[in-house]
C-alpha cells in the first residue's frame, strides 16, 4: 500500500504543476495589469511602478511562478492582505455553512435512496423520484431567491441575508442558507444513490440472502449498505476540499463573507494571488483526497488491495 501511495503522490506532481501552470499562464495572457486596476482612472508610470512593487508583480514571471509553487503568495491586490490571512478569516465561515449542509444532505440522500429503492414501483418511489427530478431541474439561483423571498421576506422566519459573529448569532444567519443548500443538492443525490442501491438490491447475493430468510431491513442495512459505500466514498470524499471554498452562488446571494464570495470578488477584480491560491490549494487537497479515497476503499471492501 505504501508503494501505491508513493506512486500516486509522484503522479500527482505533474498534474498539479500542470494545473497551476495553465492557470498562471492564463492570467499572464488574459488578465490586465493589476497595478492599473488598483490605480484607477488617474495613473502615471511612477505610480504604477510603486504599485507593482507593492503587489510583487515587478519581479520576473518565472520568479512569481516559483513563489506560488513554494506557497509564497503575493498579497491580495483587492484587499492588500496576505491570502493566508484571508483564508484563515473566511474559510471557517464557509465551513460553518458547508459542513452541516454536507453531512445532513448526505444522510438524507442515503436515507431517501434506500427507502425508495426498497419501495421500488410504489407511489412513494414515483413521488420521490418526481420531486428529485424537479429539484434537479430548478436552477439553484431560483431556489435560493425564492427561499429568501418566502422565508425571509414574507414569513420572516429567518434573516434574508447577512452574517454575524458569535455562535448562535451566526447560526441564526446560517440556518436559511444551510437549508437552501440541502434542498438544492437533494435531488441529484437521491437519484444517483437510488440507482446505486437498486443495482445492489438486484444482485444475486441479495436474492440469496432473502431466499435464506434474512429480513428485508437486515438485508438492506447489513448487506446492501456496505456495498453502496464505495460509490458514496467516490462521490463525497474527494469533494471534501471544496467545502473550504464554499458555494459561490449561495454565499453571494446570502451575503456570507466566506471563501466562495471572496473567489467571486477575486475573479471580478482579477485578483491573481487569491485565484492562484484557491486553484493551487484546492487542487492539491483534491489530489490528496483521491489518494485517501483509494485507501478508504480497502477499509470498506476487504477485497480491494492497493499495489
Amino acid at each position: 500500500m505504501l508503494a501505491y501511495i508513493f506512486r500516486k503522490l509522484l503522479l500527482s506532481i505533474p498534474i498539479l504543476l500542470g494545473i497551476v501552470a495553465v492557470t498562471f499562464l492564463l492570467f499572464c495572457i488574459v488578465a490586465p495589469d493589476p497595478a492599473r486596476v488598483y490605480a484607477g482612472k488617474f495613473k502615471s508610470e511612477a505610480q504604477l511602478q510603486a504599485i507593482r512593487h507593492q503587489l510583487g508583480t515587478d519581479v520576473p514571471k518565472w520568479r512569481q511562478f516559483t513563489n506560488i509553487l513554494t506557497f509564497h503568495f503575493a498579497n491580495s491586490s483587492r484587499y492588500q492582505e496576505s491570502v493566508w490571512r484571508l483564508f484563515a478569516r473566511k474559510a471557517p465561515v464557509s465551513l460553518a455553512i458547508q459542513v452541516p449542509a454536507f453531512f445532513i444532505e448526505l444522510g438524507l440522500q442515503l436515507a431517501l435512496a434506500l427507502l425508495v429503492a426498497s419501495k421500488r414501483g410504489t407511489i412513494l418511489d414515483y413521488g420521490v423520484t418526481f420531486l428529485s427530478v424537479v429539484g434537479l431541474s430548478v436552477p439553484a439561483i431560483s431556489l435560493y431567491l425564492t427561499m429568501q423571498w418566502v422565508f425571509g421576506g414574507w414569513l420572516q422566519w429567518f434573516p434574508v441575508a447577512g452574517w454575524s459573529a458569535g455562535f448562535f448569532y451566526a447560526l441564526h444567519f446560517a440556518a436559511l442558507p444551510i437549508i437552501a443548500s440541502i434542498i438544492a443538492g437533494l435531488g441529484y443525490g437521491v437519484r444517483f444513490y437510488r440507482t446505486v442501491v437498486l443495482e445492489e438490491i438486484n444482485a444475486d447475493y441479495v436474492r440469496t440472502a432473502r431466499a435464506k430468510g434474512v429480513g428485508a431491513r437486515e438485508t438492506l442495512f447489513t448487506h446492501v449498505l456496505g456495498n453502496v459505500l464505495i460509490p458514496v466514498l467516490t462521490n463525497t470524499v474527494a469533494t471534501l476540499p471544496l467545502l473550504f471554498v464554499g458555494s459561490l452562488l449561495l454565499e453571494r446571494l446570502f451575503q456570507i463573507p466566506g471563501f466562495g464570495n471572496l473567489l467571486v470578488d477575486a475573479i471580478h477584480a482579477q485578483d491573481q494571488p487569491v485565484v492562484m491560491f484557491i486553484v493551487y490549494v484546492t487542487s492539491l487537497l483534491y489530489l490528496l483526497m483521491l489518494i485517501v479515497t483509494d485507501v478508504l476503499y480497502t477499509l470498506v471492501d476487504p477485497r480491494v488491495t492497493l499495489r
Binding site: A31, P32, K43, G152, G162, Y169, L171, A175, P257, A269
Partner: protein, 592 residues
Amino acid sequence: MRKTKWIFFIYLAMVGLFVAGVGISLSFTPLRDPHTLYVEELATLKSLDPAEASDEPSAALLGEVYECLYNYEYGVRPYALFPEVAAAMPEYSKDNREMTIRLRKGIRFYDPQKRVWPDGIGPEITARDVIYTFKRICDFNLASPIYSAVFQDQIVGLEDWWNYTKRVGPGGVDWDRPVTGFQIVDEHTIRLVMPQANPQMIYNLAAMWTGIVSRDAVNYWKRDFRLHPVGSGAYCVAEYLRDQRIILEANPVYRGRPDADEMIPGSDRMPHIKRVEYDFFQEEVPPWLLFTQGLFDLSGIPKESFGQAIRPGTGTLTPELAKKGIVLRKADEAATEYIGFNVQDPILGKNKPLRQAMSMAFDRDAYVANFWNGRGTPGIGPIPPGFPTYDPHEINPYAQFNLEAAREKLKEAERINGGPIPTLHILMRDADTLSRQMAENFVLQMGQIGVRVEPEFRDFARWLEMTDNRQTQLFDGGWLADYPDEQDFLQLFYGKNAPAMGVNSTAFVNREFDKLYERAAVMRDSPERRQLYMRMEKIVMDECPWLIVAYPKSYALHYDWVSGGHAMDYGYGFFQHWDLDEKLREKRLGER
C-alpha cells in the same frame, strides 16, 4: 447491523442538535438599537486609509471619520467650500503659485479603541500632521492610488521626495525631511508651493483622499492602519467586521460642527444621530427586501424592483411604498455617460461626419426610458447639470435624434472614407445582461443608418486596460465629477492627456481647444473663464469625440422618520446633519 445502528443514531443526534441550535438561534435576532441609523451599502470597501481610498464607497464612509482642510457647505447650491480644519480660505501669492493655509486650533484626533493613546484622545491637529498626511500620499512605499491625481507634478520638490522614499524603503523614511512644496510655516500654518498656478488644488484639499491622519496612529498600527481609522470627524469606528458591517458612533471629542472653532455645548452639537450601522451587500435584492421590511432606513432602488417602487410614467412613489412612510428623493448627478470614439482609429479619426452621423442616429430619450427607467436627462454636451455653464436649452444638433440628418451626414462620411463604412467595434465595460442589451440597442440604432457595429464585452479591468492603451474603436464610458469645476470634464479632451494612460481616452487633440484649456487652467472662477469653458465645450460638441448619451439622475429612498438629508455630489461627513425620529420609527414598525 449493530454498527450501522450506532452510526445512524449518532447521526440522528447530530442532526437533532443542529435543529435545536437553529431553534435556539431564532431567538438570537441581533438587537435593534433605537438610536441607530441603519444603512445598506452595495459595495466592498477598498480601504479605511484615506490615502488608499480611491473608490467612492470607501471615501464616503471615511468622510464620517476624517476631516480635510476644506469641505462643501451642506445642502447649499451652487456648491461652496468652507474651511473645516483650515481656519480660513487660503491666501494666495501674487502669482497664485503659493497657498498659505492657517489651521483651526483645538481639533483633536480620537482613537475609539484607546490603543494609540491611553484615553483615546489624541493631540491637537497641527501643521506637522497636515504635511505628514500629504507626504504620506507621496510615499513610494505606500503606493497610494491617489498620488498622481492629487499631487504628482503639482507640488515643487515632490519628485525628490518620491525618489527618496523609493531609495530608503518603508522603514527608513524620515518624515521630517523637508519638501520644498510642503512647508510648515508655524505650528498652525502650512504653505503649498506649486510649479504653476493651479486653481483646482483647493478641491484636492476638500477631497477625502487628503483626510488628515495622525502619525502616531500610523506608527502604531503600521500596515493595519487601513483597518483602524483614527480621525477627528463627527464619528469614530466602533466596530468593523470586514465585508460585513461597520458601526460608527459619535466622536466624544468632536467639536460639534464642522465649521466650529471650539466645542459647541448642548443640543446644538452634532451629530444628532449617535450611531450609524452600515451593512454591506453585493447583490441588490436582499437589502431591498430588508429595506421594505423597515430594517434599513435608506435605500436605492434596484432595477428589478423599480416597478415596485415607482409608478410607471409618473416618476412618483407607488402607493404601497408611500403608505409605509417611504420618501423619494431625486437629484441630478454630476456625471455624463457617453460612447467614446477613438480618434486615433484610421476610420473614425479622420471622419468627423461619421461621428456626427452616429451621434444623431442615437435616440437618447428611448435609451433613458428603456435602460435607466427614466432616471436620466438626455445629454447635450459633455458638461452635466449642476455646473454654471450647463444650459438645458442649449441646442447641440449632433445630440438630437434625427435619422434623416444622420443619413445625410453618413453620405458625407462615406465620401471621406472612399466607400461604405466597414464594420465598427464597440467595447462594453461589462458582460452582464444590461450591457448586452445596451450593446444590442446600439447596434440596432446604428443599423438604422446603415452603420454596422459589432460589440465586444470585457470586464471592467480589461476595459480599463484597453481604453488606456487606445485599443478600441468605440467604447462605452462615463465620468463622475470629482469637484464642481468644468475643468474636471474638459481635461478629458486636453491634448496632453491624450497619450496612453492619460484620461483623454478618445485621444482627442485640437489645437484651439488646447490653447483655450491652457489659458483657463491658471484662472480662478470668473465670467471670463466661463466663457473659455463654453468655447471649449462648443468645440467638443462639434468635433464629436463623444456621443453624449445622458446625465444620470439618482433616485434614493428613505423612511419619513429620517430627515435632514440632501443629495450632495461632493463633500463628506453628511450624517452628522441628519435627524432620526426614533419614536416615529418605533411606532411605524410596531404597527406592521
